[in-house]
Amino acid sequence: MKKVEAIIRKSKFDEVKKALHAIEVNFLSYWDVTGVGNEKQGHVYRGISYSTTDIQRRYLVIVVSDDFLERTIETLTKTASTGNVGDGKIFVSEITEAYRIRTGESGHAGIN
């Protein structure tokens, strides 16, 4: 099993969710984070203009079985990108075990 962590633009979220759904990745958790990266955003407040590299992003955690990994990555890179700096990153790591709380089942049953 793999954990896919994707940091994407909030504005791309609906599209990404729909695309994941289309490849039958229906389970995920997400929250909003602040990302520090290449992109800069201009702000003004009471006459002081400032630009910040701290930008609102959405953080997605999707745990998938190994055979789903490739298409998940593909879907993410395709639908979440706009081509502009700031589109975000995907990180993949190993999950040792997964459990479904409702039933206590583990393994593949634990992830969807």
Partner: protein, 418 residues
């Protein structure tokens, strides 16, 4: 007239002016409450702009366009009494306006009304209208269209003397048509020209919910608007006449309460759930509904008008959705549809009820509809084809606050960067 009576009248009118002014906070709260967080600064900006510019426009020319002093003989359509404001010689004496108020009070009370027409539109076009385009629209609509329509009736123009059979003229006490529908027509045209917010309708055209971000402020907005209506209707008596003003307050409050309760019951039956936003819109519907005849109705009639208004609101909101129009705050249902209902109600209930009056009311509604639709369309279409009416898709998705204002409404709330 004794000085005490003149002074008491003027005090009442000034307090009503203050209350109508305060309605702008109510509108602002309602509008931001029912929309998304990312457009909050933009909405506040629009509303503050409307208040300030509305008042200045009224000072520059609006007042003299709305009350140009038509000659008694003609049934006026248009007249302009010149730029700026200057009190007439007797403007500070009881001779002016039968001692109901001074000329300055008159100007300010009417000026506070003026901005309202644009505020109504602001709610309907929220979350996608371009700020620049909207500002131009405000200038034209508040500066010209609103006072011209107003002059037809309150300025002594042709509507006020539109007699037919037993009816002695169109009647619109505090502006179900002259204020609310005037705003409502422009709102309807604007949301038609603008199109719906991205995500409001799915691929199959089914409406989707886009919940607002702050219902406590939305509820506060409605209660503040109700409070403001004490001044809006109470001040439209144009003096502090005890019998007149106190009756108007009673009919106004009862219609509001009845509108709320009937909208609540209707929506609970239709949707099997206690919908706060419908309850709130119902109250506003009742208020708009009673506005045209607040001084003509008995308490019972006020309650009936309110009950109908509440039902109309729930159906009206659904209808707008069905027409694939997108009105985030329900402005069309509240101000246009209930505005029409209130104007018609003058022909159905109360002191002036009668088929002749009903027909005259219809005529007045039609006149306003025609003029506002044509001018509203002309203004908005011109803006659309020139500076543009709608923000880019990217801006809409990311929020107008960051794009037009470079600012977040709750910057420190969400990012906690500092």
């Amino acid at each position: 007239m004794e000085a005490g009576l003149f002074t008491a009248n003027n005090v009442w009118m000034m307090m009503c002016t203050a209350l109508v002014f305060f309605m702008h906070l109510g509108f602002s709260f309602l509008e931001i409450g029912l929309t998304r967080q990312k457009n909050t600064v933009n909405i506040l900006f629009k509303n503050v702009f409307i208040i300030c510019v509305g008042l200045l426009l009224y000072y520059i020319g609006g007042f003299n366009l709305m009350y140009p002093g038509f000659e008694d003989i003609d049934a006026g359509f248009f007249k302009f009494a010149g730029f700026g404001i200057a009190a007439p010689e007797n403007g500070m004496t009881p001779e002016y306006a039968d001692g109901g108020y001074t000329w300055w009070t008159d100007f300010l009370f009417q000026g506070m009304f003026a901005a309202t027409a644009a505020t109504i539109v602001s709610g309907a076009v929220a979350e996608r209208v371009k700020l620049g385009g909207f500002m131009i629209f405000t200038l034209a609509y508040v500066g010209l269209v609103y006072p011209i329509v107003g002059s037809w009736q309150w300025g002594g123009g042709f509507l006020s003397s539109l007699a037919y059979g037993e009816a002695e003229g169109f009647y619109d006490f505090a502006g179900s048509t002259l204020v609310h529908s005037v705003g409502g027509w422009a709102a309807l045209i604007a949301i038609y020209l603008l199109g719906a917010r991205k995500g409001k309708f799915d691929e199959n055209g089914k409406p989707r919910a886009i919940p607002g971000h702050n219902l406590p402020l939305a509820a506060a907005g409605v209660l503040i608007l109700w409070l403001g209506w004490f001044g809006f209707n109470g001040g439209s008596v144009l003096s502090a006449d005890p019998a007149g003003t106190s009756l108007v307050l009673v009919t106004t409050c009862l219609a509001a309460a009845a509108g709320g309760v009937s909208a609540f019951i209707t929506s609970t039956i239709m949707y099997k759930n206690y919908d706060l936003t419908m309850f709130l819109n119902g109250i506003l519907g009742g208020l708009v509904g009673i506005t045209a005849g607040a001084d003509l109705m008995s308490p019972n009639e006020a309650v009936i008008i309110g009950l109908f208004a509440g039902v109309i609101i729930v159906l009206g909101v659904a209808l707008i959705d069905k027409l694939k129009l997108d009105d985030p705050v329900g402005a069309v249902a509240v101000h246009l549809i209930c505005g029409i209902w209130g104007t018609l109600a003058v022909g159905i209930f109360g002191a002036k009820a009668g088929i002749d009056q009903l027909l005259v009311q219809l005529a007045g509604i039609g006149a306003a509809a025609t003029f506002c639709s044509i001018t509203g369309f002309a203004i908005l279409f011109t803006i659309k084809k020139t500076v543009g009416l709608r923000v880019s898709e990217e801006e809409e998705v990311e929020g107008l606050d960051i794009h037009e204002h470079g600012m977040d409404a709750y910057a420190d709330f969400r990012m906690n960067q500092h």
